[in-house]
Symmetry: C2
Subunit: 196 residues, 2 copies
Amino acid sequence: MSRNRKLPDPARRSERSKQAILTATTDLIGEVGYAKLAIEAIAARAGVGKQTIYRWWPDKGSVVLDAYLMLVGADQGIDVPDSGNLETDLRLVLGSTVDSLADPVFERRYRALVTAIQDDPELAAALLDRLLKPWLEATKKRLRSAQHAGQIRNVDLDVAAEALYGPIYYRWLLRIGPISRQYVDALIAMNLRALT
Amino acid sequence: MSRNRKLPDPARRSERSKQAILTATTDLIGEVGYAKLAIEAIAARAGVGKQTIYRWWPDKGSVVLDAYLMLVGADQGIDVPDSGNLETDLRLVLGSTVDSLADPVFERRYRALVTAIQDDPELAAALLDRLLKPWLEATKKRLRSAQHAGQIRNVDLDVAAEALYGPIYYRWLLRIGPISRQYVDALIAMNLRALT
DNA sequence: TATACGAGACGGACCGTCTCGTCTTACCTG
DNA sequence: CAGGTAAGACGAGACGGTCCGTCTCGTATA
């Protein structure tokens, strides 16, 4: 009862076409948004046959995920600096998160991704593994270091890391309010009060 | 250059058709999901002409919002109890939030709404005003009461309220992990440590 | 030599607009 | 406080258009 479809040979895949498809996808999301993004339009823009897209991706959401990962240059490793001053380091990493979310170049693409995720748990898992988890893990690593230095108490690091990112994404995803450096500072201050 | 469209008369609107449309929408989201939800299918299921839908709603997202608000019985006012014990009261209100998000009946409909919001800021504002803000305001009110009782310190209540809801929605929207009563308890404990 | 490729034809699903004839309702008249 | 009427909201569905996902074609490539 397993999948009966003949799989294509990745070794023979055209890198040129792949790049063209992902680039066209990123451009088109910026122009027409995710809802009106059409596979046909991607193929036309990329100068590619539709079948070439359907051969390598199961659906629109998967193309969008890969396009975004290429855009942000994922899989190159996230690292939170360790200056010894936790507040400084957190301000740096959360600040760069906020900058990305507020940057129009990334905003539409990221929102497209969140849209695609909502009715595709597999895609959500892929995004989690390849983008969100690296950030969370890097942040937890920095918090663990602070724990060992006796700067913060012995709390659940998953809860602590999500308490930092959660309110930012909450504000941004549900459009509750603007996310600014100032908001980040207030958030960090509150969390450090809980952690020390 | 203003809108040149003749507006229909709300006084003559058929309440029967309205209910049928919103009910059909809720049912169909549960069956096929938001992405595959078709206006034509809603009309057919509701026993209604397509024009009747297009006459009263500008797009699919708006229908979905109204359907959800009807489902949860919004606009009936949110109130956080004030037992004197802040932890108990927060556990109650955040617990009911988690229950909703985890309930399959509400989950698909709410995720549909989040999807619709991402490329429609106006719709997002409507959701914010009619659903999210009432919860946040009720929570802030309870926190303010605790402030006056000298139980928590004098912090920005917007930041405090969002620090409570943010991580829950973050986990749920980005499918980072399961949201449970246990997680809520850990979250409340951490926030209370920051607030006292 | 096998197969990934660009191109595009194909039937089908829905889109959003429109035009019917019917039914409902707000309002006017007596 | 009827009862009659005209405006318009209604259900139904035809319409051209877009895009879907599958399927052939030769051609190019590894």
